[in-house]
Symmetry: D4
Subunit: 249 residues, 8 copies
């Protein structure tokens, strides 16, 4: 139905305004108040409320939390939140800070409601921050998460020893820096969709994660897609959308 | 179960050799014959047989087709197959060439057996080759595919007019060159996972697709992952894995 | 007015459907027919109809011309049209091919209706193709155009000899490859807005126009903005928007 | 008139020396005194006096202010002025520091004298610094400015809710980092000239703003030109030149 | 022998489980305990135990040392260990810190057991840190090491004066930043394999070592291979593998 | 003397118009006739007339030659002139084509009138085209030229055998691709100024000459400056300016 | 011994001229005749004579062959020799052309005289040209060579099935494009030195082999060094130097 | 004369050892003592002694100064010496620190002994550090130096007002960041050789000086060569070599 038809149906009364609004899910009302908070995104995209903490002061973050809470939203994820900045959070809502993933969750983790398990695999212990950002975000989004750390391809047996976990995962997130080779190897071993997260771990010609990014984009195995360098959050968002795939009866 | 335990169980007889082999699905036998064809990949990763036609002569392609057919595989996709090269295909199996996607399918398209529809969206008509590679590959992999072409963000209403198709898709593939902006806009409008395919369409500072690639990797909307420039095939592989997500009862 | 209010006004009858559509200028009807031609863009953005000829076959171009003509549009610009491809144009509408700018105009050039003159300056004769694409596009969009070629900064007196033309232009387009220095020099000499077009003229470390692009983006003179490498068309579109600035009484 | 003719007319007396100087507006006298301050730029290019504060000590800035004041210039913009550095400004002229745009204005903001309104649009709150640099500079240059913040394309409805402001602006500045998609979307919705400012907001493959820069240069919508990364000042200079377009009667 | 045959031989008893494990050297047991330490790598690749200290806290490093010691490994190299971090090492094992190479050795240097001498050559004194990382790592791996510092090609005679040392080395590591020219010159003078290590020494267009890296990869002399920028450790690992080449009788 | 003073002196008659023009050497008269040929450049910069043949048709080149000849200029260098294009040159002036440097000279080579010899050194025979462009251009500009080919640093003795030629040259041009190491080595051996010309010879990570360019810019020897990749002409222009240095008595 | 001492010993007679020349192995006599052929390189570096055929005409190649033959050298490798160019070789010496490696060998392959076997591993059949260039060059240099093709990590079992060949090789050359992951995986499985050759196989973000190059330089496994993209020849030169390591008794 | 002949002449006595050493100027004796100081470089290349202070501790610098002084060298330039580091210099020789160029001179500036004046031109006051490094180094090397600061092309008249100084310089060094346009403009105005120094001044797409570097390498004016970003020292070395050109009687 195009917009003209919609307008005509509204005029004729065959469509209520609310119904029109629903089919116009992507065009909600004018934003009001502090910071143009997107009050309808959860409805529209299925994602929970998220505050990107990077480049925001604790005061700004507190302000947004308050505004959200006033709109009844009290289950909030705050990413890119350094330990220092977390000290400035003053909300009276129950919340927990996860230093390893540099994020905080207000209102607790939900029960998993996805189709299966999201497996988060990392190549090395230095990738921990990104790995945890991915794993904790996925939990926040209602997914069961399993971690498999430090299984880089330099010691292939460490990965192969977990062959069955690889097979059983619904979705796999692979976190790796440097040569990014783990993404290709894992994708070749499974039938599940793989999301690759290059990390900025490395030095010299890793060029801040470029080496891993390019390697992952050029994976010789198909069935993998890539997110931005160090973007554990984005990988989890993608994985959660997959794990909540609308399945027709 | 680790390998030593497996070996002991085999020795003791509590595990048959075939059972051991099954749990060793990732380590099949030594390849035999022409070109190390991976005869077990379909079992292992769920993907059909694919021949990458780029950089192979018609003779080499014919040889691989024959070897596959002798192993009982006669449902084959050949990608990156120019019209000229397609003229050199001599198989007696039934096959069809799709010039718009520069690929051929031997043995016909299967019935869709995925969870929902894969929607392939393109920004412009110049992206057609990549779009069709994605759409036809997805069909070959057992997916119902819907196309939505020429809906670049320069004329936003063209995209918004298809709001309902966007909402109904299980998985979305967005194909766009130049500014790659379509990926961000679409991801912000839907709850389904989005796979972005940058294309090399453009000139000057598009640097062969780099502009679109970087824009997609930096999408301000989360829930999207990216494949290599012009990699319609890879996007379809990822989309099909998602659309065939193993759903626990 | 937000969408809900608009819907309510439509329902109440205080707004006719046409009025609603007008204020919804950005959301026209569902596209119909061949190739999703944007039939409303001229209304919406003030730009004439343009066909990007690059990567399209003469047959495709002819088809789009016909579809446009059937909708009453017979003033069309076709860019990136090689002489060879132009030979395949079969329209019965009056048209002219401009080989130096590799473009064709159907229906003739309009009378200038902008505020002043657009001056197109080029650094060297090798930039001619881009220069003419800019100049002819600007004419097609209803602007008076003056050209000033081959005035690169290696012979500064050639530019300074035209100091008065520089002062009198309403908008200036500077086309230059290699060091792109002309853009900075011109911007420092005038009060008019300057649009810089880097060209791919050069070799070695010009890296296909990157040197000129970066130099222009880093102009030490302010009052200049840059378009893509070789994008004479885009520069003219920008210049024409400026030259048709809506001026409040 | 070329220089020889000018010289002959001066010699013959048919041109006074002052008249000659006027037509030689681009070649003023030898600079004298401290720091080669360009005392004639305002006359020549229409722009007010600006001090680039980056890389200058408070002492140097104070010295330049004094020199300017002695030449009767007491309406001065100082950009790239950190709050810390602003503490060192000692001028006795009236001045105001704008921390959000990291700039100071000596002598107050002028009354707007341009043709219309410059609309400054930002994709996210993290772009604030660049947005304010653009908006405040435009005000300093005599323009009426309207701001529209936090309307990134991930929540398209936030932008569309302001469709009428978009239509009414004379010139639009779009400030966006990451995917830079907002520039393309806005340009496609309006007929006014658009100036795109990529920002260095982002991480990983944003490569310090390169992703947004390339996306903007490759905008699929025409009618937009781009300035350097984070260059809010340059965008305002360009916008102000446009908004003060010399309009022939 | 493939895996099925191996399994059958285990079952039949013609192969003991230990023998099977040996031929499966690449697939050791599941890792247990703290940090998935690779307890079998020394057996598998011939390299000693190494802890990459970069990005690890002293606590983490102490924990890994303890775990290794409990497994009987008390000859350990810790690289990328700043002097400050070294202060936090608490092991009771005998250890020594080498500040010039920013590494520590637990358990002392072994006696050289390679075929010949590894010569480590540096272009300038600024390359010292990388040079010493290479030299000390090579010693740790059981090699006799000779150093030749500050012999850059700008003073060619300094290098040529050591012509005989060059001739006598079994393997040569060349450490150089900036133009990386030393690698080409040395490779042209000797018959031994040369490993080139670009360093990030330099500024401007050295782009963090890129200039030296590219020069070394494009060496006009053949018989040289390159490792990552500043990767003295990797060069020593390669050199030691070469110097311990398994030589058939 | 500034412009105002000059004007006053002209008016007062203390300066003739011709004298004023002479001191205004950089501001000659308005260009006339075909193609804005710079008729005064030879006077102004000391360089002979040069036509850049790249991207020009034989017809255009012939036209420029004719226009120059009509102004009395019949000693002309035409660079980037392929053998095929040279066939289209129709001038009746005496001319010679040099296929190895892909350039033509009209009117013959002048007698050398510089201070000393320009030595052109190349690393390999593949650099011949650039080498000859440099050598022949230098001859055209009035320099004595000596060539020393194929002395790359992979065989250092080939270079060192010519140590005395190196010492005796007034100016040295070093042409090298790949690692560009020859520039550093030569600069370290001599006291004369060295001009480095990177070439696009190479493949892979030479990235079209980037490796040599960066290496030369980062030369560990000082006393060298670099021109664009493959720019033998520019190197000769620089060398000739040096070799014609105005020497005060 | 430095040069002065050497000179004094020559003068005093305690050193014969021939002895002096020997210790001056790196400084042979002035080259004579056609093309500065390096007649002493074989002595100096242990490598056979090689002609780089790229960018040379068949006539030039024939000339060099003749000159070498006259100096008694009739065992020559010609690389980068297209089949077409090979047709122009006219030598009367016995020679063979290898189309798969695009090289020719004059005088036959020598008997292997190295310490062990060089194993050349390739990721895919598209890497064949580079693989064969490496393998055949290694043979020409006196090495026993084993090939293992098409064992990319997307099907890991294909590689693992050859675990014993990996263990037995003295030196390993890994040829791979795209993600270059094979180099890391192989290096982690063996104790032998590994030489990685990135190839330009791939498209889009492989950027002509850059993705594989960076991945290999950033290998998470140590004991590997990298040569230029597509440089099979250079890898073989390095491998042969290793395999002919001078072993002290 | 080649080495063999030289050796024979030494043996026969027709050449004294000292004469042989002189003609072997490039091969001085083995370095002795602390830090392989090049005691003969002044003789060989005509350059004074220089210590690169970057990356060296005050202690190391003091050590080198002492070693040089013991060899009779007490006229020394120390570059890249921060004010803080200069505080640690303890030499008893007379010395002076120049904070604006971040360098120190031991033993005073020599009298100028070059052919003419070196003119150092800078585009802006932010380039001061590099400008002074160039100017002071040139003075140290025995050149008369003239400075012309803050004459960027955005205010062209500032440069043109100094037209006569431009004409009178023997060598010109142009220091500019951002668009680097000043180098092209200056080169087009003079006949003297021009050395361009790009600076890292700028932000965003200046990419640390890359924009200026590329612009300078691609200068549309010939007669200019470029040194590394911020390399004022290297520019002065080149300029001094030019200004001390050996002029044949």
């Amino acid at each position: 139905m195009d917009i003209k038809e919609l307008l005509e149906e509204v005029k004729s009364g065959s469509l209520t305004i609310d119904e029109a609004r629903f089919s116009l899910k992507g065009f909600p009302y004018k934003d009001l108040g502090y910071a143009k908070i997107d009050l309808h995104r959860q409805v529209r995209t299925g994602a929970g409320e998220v505050i990107y903490g990077g480049g925001k002061s604790p005061e700004q973050i507190n302000g947004i939390i308050t505004a959200m809470a006033e709109n009844g939203q009290n289950n909030i994820l705050i990413t890119h939140l350094s330990a220092e900045k977390a000290d400035g959070i003053t909300t009276t809502l129950p919340w927990h800070y996860y230093p390893e993933g540099e994020l905080a969750v207000i209102g607790g983790m939900p029960r998993p409601n996805g189709h299966g398990t999201i497996l988060v695999i990392s190549a090395g212990t230095s990738d921990l921050k990104v790995t945890e950002e991915a794993a904790l975000t996925a939990q926040f989004l209602g997914n069961k998460v399993l971690r498999l750390n430090d299984v880089g391809v330099a010691g292939l047996h460490r990965l192969l020893a977990h062959f069955s976990e690889l097979q059983e995962a619904a979705v796999i997130i692979v976190v790796a820096g440097m040569d990014g080779a783990l993404a290709s190897v894992v994708t070749g071993l499974v039938a599940a969709p793989v999301i690759a997260v290059p990390t900025s771990i490395g030095y010299g010609a890793s060029f801040g994660g470029l080496s891993a990014l390019l390697a992952m984009l050029n994976s010789c195995a198909a069935g993998v897609a890539t997110v931005n360098i160090d973007n554990g959050f984005g990988a989890a968002m993608m994985a959660s959308r997959i794990n909540h795939l609308e399945v027709k009866k």
